[in-house]
């Protein structure tokens, strides 16, 4: 079975353990990338409003989430 076929098979798996684990890991990856990029944006002097616009969330949401970073 080729890699692509294997991936397609796994993605269409009805086993909740497989599907849910993939979603959880994807969320972990998403959070890591978001934190990295928000930090980078702040380092480069972006405002919370600018960051929120590109992330397509409210300014309050992004500020509340990353306020604890101390910037």
């Amino acid at each position: 079975m080729s890699d692509a076929t294997k991936v397609a098979a796994a993605a269409s798996s009805r086993d909740p353990a497989v599907g849910l684990a993939a979603v959880a890991s994807l969320r972990g990856l998403l959070e890591s990338l978001e934190e990295l990029q928000v930090t980078n944006a702040r380092d480069q002097g972006w405002s919370w409003q600018q960051i929120a616009d590109v992330l397509r969330v409210s300014r309050q949401a992004v500020h509340k989430k990353y306020r604890r970073f101390g910037f």
Partner: protein, 185 residues
């Protein structure tokens, strides 16, 4: 609470804190105590685990699976979606430097906490260790009592140990025998 701990058991507590920090955890958890037990050479907990044929490498792999950051289990899960985590990590590190992806997860926690507290599960393990020592009439808390605490704690550390073949009842028997022999010798 730590005055009755043996030097090795204290070392376990210190190393558990290191484990928690290395794994970018927001608290010291029971599984960090378990990982720390394996880092203190020649302790009775390891003798007890060997007596149960618990595979040290297997336990380490299980503990890695519990990691806060993105570990091998995540890489596997993401692969089912066609995402190559190693490739993502490589791309991110090309731009932001080594460990950038993992560092991102740890940053907020480091900011909020220079000192890492014990979570409820880890506190429970230490309390149970004390109780085991008292029940056996041992005047100190050693690594072996920490192990008994772990085997009775109800958390993921206990699940891992039991899945790898350790049992509370037989561990208690072995600890009592080992301590008796040591005293007789």
């Amino acid at each position: 609470m730590f005055e009755r701990f043996t030097d090795k058991a204290r070392r376990v507590v210190v190393l558990a804190q290191e484990e928690a920090r290395d794994r970018r955890a927001d608290a010291i958890r029971a599984e960090h105590l378990l990982a720390a037990l394996y880092r203190v050479p020649d302790n009775l907990a390891l003798t007890v685990l060997e007596a149960h044929s618990v595979d040290a490498e297997g336990v380490r792999a299980d503990l890695d699976g519990l990691r806060d950051g993105l570990g091998p289990a995540d890489a596997q899960a993401l692969a089912t979606l066609g995402i190559d985590l190693d490739e993502v990590r490589r791309q991110v590190e090309d731009t932001f430097g080594e460990g950038a992806l993992d560092r991102a997860r740890g940053r907020a926690r480091r900011w909020s906490a220079g000192h890492i507290p014990f979570d409820r599960g880890a506190k429970k393990v230490l309390e149970l260790a004390l109780r085991e020592a008292l029940r056996m009439g041992h005047g100190y808390i050693g690594c072996e009592h920490v192990l008994l605490g772990l085997l009775n704690s109800g958390g993921p550390a206990q699940t891992i140990l039991v899945a790898r073949g350790a049992r509370l009842d037989s561990a208690r028997v072995i600890v009592e025998e080992l301590v008796r022999w040591r005293r007789a010798g």
